[in-house]
Amino acid sequence: MPETENAPAARGEARKHLGEGSPAFERRLAALDAWDSRWVRPDAKYLTVIVINEIVSCVIWTAVLCVPLVLRLLEVWSWPWMWLAVALPVLSVAWTVLELVLAPRRARARGYSEREEDLLVRQGVMWHRITVVPYGRMQYVEVSSGPWDRLFGLAKVELHTASAATDVKIEGISQHDAARLREELAQRGEERLAAL
């Protein structure tokens, strides 16, 4: 595959990360952190990608959920009560609105921190969690990106250890960071290779 040198967007330097939230929000996140780590937050474009994803999925879902309503209006169907037929698409939209409202907080709550011996990954607002993965435990790394991600130069990094419970995804980082992280993790993993 040709290795193309391209847009500055894909290069790391110029990109901005999401900023901090309200002080209370930050305090709350910091409360769980046992190491006072310095977190790298997702790329600023991550929010845009989330919004696009949400809207796209909302359109699709709403379209599907409109089917009973349309059939009802055309009087092809008589069963679903009108309120139910209306409620379905309305709920779908409401759900999306809720997701969009929460999205910035959720995105800000994400982050990773590369430490000497392990990688910390945090996520979640209401159920905040911090996962610690020692470099030596990583079995393999997976980098993936959907169409919108690529449009904005983002990627997702997934880490796998021998435990299925590990389940660590670093979402919304720039492709540049993802590639760097992957190489870094591979290298540190090698240095600190641990027995199973």
Partner: protein, 590 residues
């Protein structure tokens, strides 16, 4: 690795510096999606035939019949049909075009997907086995799939499909050579472990052992392994690495487990105890409830309904109970040179050898009604056994045993006190105690709102090498995890936890029934434990080697380091020709 940066080509702008990306064989889609193709052909074919019949087609008018029915079909239908076929073909081509792989220094990478791109990367020294498998159609087409088994609970194995048979063999040989080199480089650290493996070799044997054997055939195409059978299995035990298992990987050569080594019996469960344990262990309560329901419904009325409703439930209950009984009764556990050997089964006997080095965590449980009898259940998480659930009987070391039996098995799977393990009093506290005695840290008082019964019991204790996670008041549970086997951990709290100043710490072990979840610790305690565990995880690797060396004595707990290591980056192999061939080491069922 050069600075990777590219948007258009790499899945995630991830390009491997000097990697050359190659495509898989062009016939891959055919071999992968032949079922879909078959379905399409079938559907189209059936339509053709059916519509032909509708048109009064008869064999004598073959020549005229077909054009007629073609005309009679709606053009639209044809267009749709052709469109679908084109779409499928297009998708196949697409998927082929975007599937590439590269082998770089120490890694294998596979890229997939056009719209949603994915790049998987596995380090060679992490790969436990490289298998060649040939599903039916692939075999007909002369293709083969390379599967890279990583110590990850399986669902995410790296596949490389498909290459030509020959290409796959060559690549495998190349990779195995490379892997061995890497291991030789890493060898110094592991020499000790190799020596440590009184039982080590058995333990480590399976994964890397197998991988090694073919690798040992120094050059070229490793012919025998993939040779005959469809799948050169991960299971191939050393002695006959290759002829192995035409049946497929997990159906592992059902050769008898015993390899002529002495076996010492540790525990035995008769039918009587199995039944009693079943009834007392919660199952009996269900049974009583079900019977009561039947009786009540019958008395109240509606005998018909009660039967209809309860029959399936009863059926489930009976089969479930039977399943448990079947894996409990006639249970025998013994220790051999290869590990713990377990046999069970009422109707058919299953045998399984669990290499001690593969054990990742040990769990002890005691349902409420087992207490008067002093019975315990002993389960394990073990690498290579796969996730729990599907066949959980395989994770059981002792389905129901007396305290004595438990204590007879335990020393083989849990580190002894003088070697950083757990002593009797602490174990007792862990099994039965509550509160902070014997070095346990439990939930703070505020946790009583969420765990009214168990908040004094939920907690952890730590020895030099082990972490004890205690939980359950009525049904007591204890998880024993060596620090060095913790894969990762997660610190988490929810809204209620925050209000009460609590947090959970979940220590992740390789899949199995034993969970390392420490619930509802005080936030500060949870953080402290997390910090300590992180340090231990970091330190363990450095301290690891000397420890491993100390493991030579028969005391099995050595597992903590030695063989496990073998299993992973295969020091057993790396440390030069291992003294003992990783004999027929794998657990298997007969």
């Amino acid at each position: 690795m050069t600075e990777p940066r590219n948007e258009s080509s790499g899945p995630a702008g991830t390009s491997a510096g000097e990697a050359t990306w190659e495509r898989v064989h062009p016939l891959t889609p055919l071999a992968r999606f032949w079922i879909a193709i078959l379905v399409i052909v079938f559907v189209v074919g059936r339509n053709v035939v059916e519509s032909a019949f509708e048109d009064g087609w008869d064999p004598e008018e073959l020549g005229r019949g077909i054009p007629e029915f073609v005309r009679s079909l709606e053009l639209v239908g044809w267009l749709i049909g052709i469109g679908v076929v084109l779409l499928v073909l297009g998708a196949m081509f697409w998927s082929w075009w975007f599937t590439r792989y590269a082998v770089t220094e120490g890694t294998v990478r596979v890229r997939e997907g056009a719209l949603f791109r994915k790049e998987k990367q596995a380090r060679l020294d992490r790969v436990q086995a490289i298998e060649i498998s040939q599903p039916l159609l692939a075999r007909l087409l002369g293709l083969a799939e390379l599967r890279f088994e990583v110590a990850d609970s399986g669902e995410s194995t790296l596949h490389l499909r498909f290459l030509t048979r020959r290409g796959a063999e060559d690549l495998r040989a190349r990779l195995l050579r490379r892997k061995r080199q890497m291991q030789d480089d890493a060898a110094p650290s592991s020499a000790g472990e190799a020596a440590a493996g009184t039982r080590g070799p058995g333990a480590g044997g399976a994964g890397p052992g197998e991988a090694r054997d073919p690798g040992d055939v120094p050059e070229g195409s490793v012919p025998p392994a993939p040779g005959g059978a469809g799948t050169a299995p991960a299971s191939g035990p050393a002695p006959e690495p290759d002829a192995a298992a035409p049946a497929g990987p997990s159906a592992a050569a059902p050769s008898a487990a015993g390899s002529g080594q002495e076996e010492t019996e540790l525990a035995r469960v008769g039918v009587g105890r199995a039944v009693a344990a079943l009834v007392a262990g919660g199952y009996g309560i269900f049974l009583l409830l079900a019977l009561a329901a039947v009786v009540v419904l019958n008395i109240v009325s509606l005998p018909g309904i009660s039967l209809a409703v309860l029959a399936p439930a009863l059926f489930g209950l009976v089969t479930g109970g039977w399943g448990t009984l079947n894996s409990t009764a006639n249970f025998r556990a013994g220790i051999t040179g290869e590990g713990l050997k377990v046999r069970y089964g009422l109707t058919s006997t299953r045998t399984q050898t669990i290499p001690l080095g593969r054990i990742q965590a040990v769990g002890i449980e005691q349902p409420l009604l087992w207490r008067p009898f002093g019975w315990f259940k002993l389960v394990i998480n073990s690498a290579g056994l796969g996730a729990s659930g599907a066949d959980s009987a395989r994770n059981v070391l002792l389905p129901v045993g007396t305290g004595q039996e438990l204590m007879r098995i335990l020393p083989y799977v849990v580190e002894r006190p003088e070697r950083g393990g757990v002593d009797g009093r602490q174990l007792r506290a862990a099994l039965e105690g509550s509160g902070t005695e014997h070095g346990f840290t439990v939930s703070p008082g505020s946790a009583r709102w969420v765990d009214p019964l168990t908040y004094r019991r939920n907690g952890y204790g730590a020895t030099r090498d082990l972490l004890l996670v205690r939980s359950g008041r009525l049904r007591r549970r204890l998880a024993v995890m060596p620090h060095v086997k913790v894969q990762s951990m997660r610190l988490a709290n929810g809204p209620l936890d925050r209000r009460l100043g609590l947090a959970d710490l979940h220590l992740h072990s390789v899949g199995g029934p034993v969970s390392g979840l420490v619930r509802h610790l005080a936030l500060a305690d949870a953080q402290e434990l997390a910090r300590r565990q992180a340090e231990r995880a970091a330190g363990a690797r450095r301290v690891g080697e000397p420890q491993a060396r100390a493991d030579c004595p028969p005391a099995p707990p050595g597992e903590a380091e030695g063989p496990a290591a073998a299993e992973d980056h295969g020091p057993a192999d790396a440390g030069g020709p291992p003294p003992v061939p990783p004999a027929d080491s794998r657990r298997r069922e007969a």
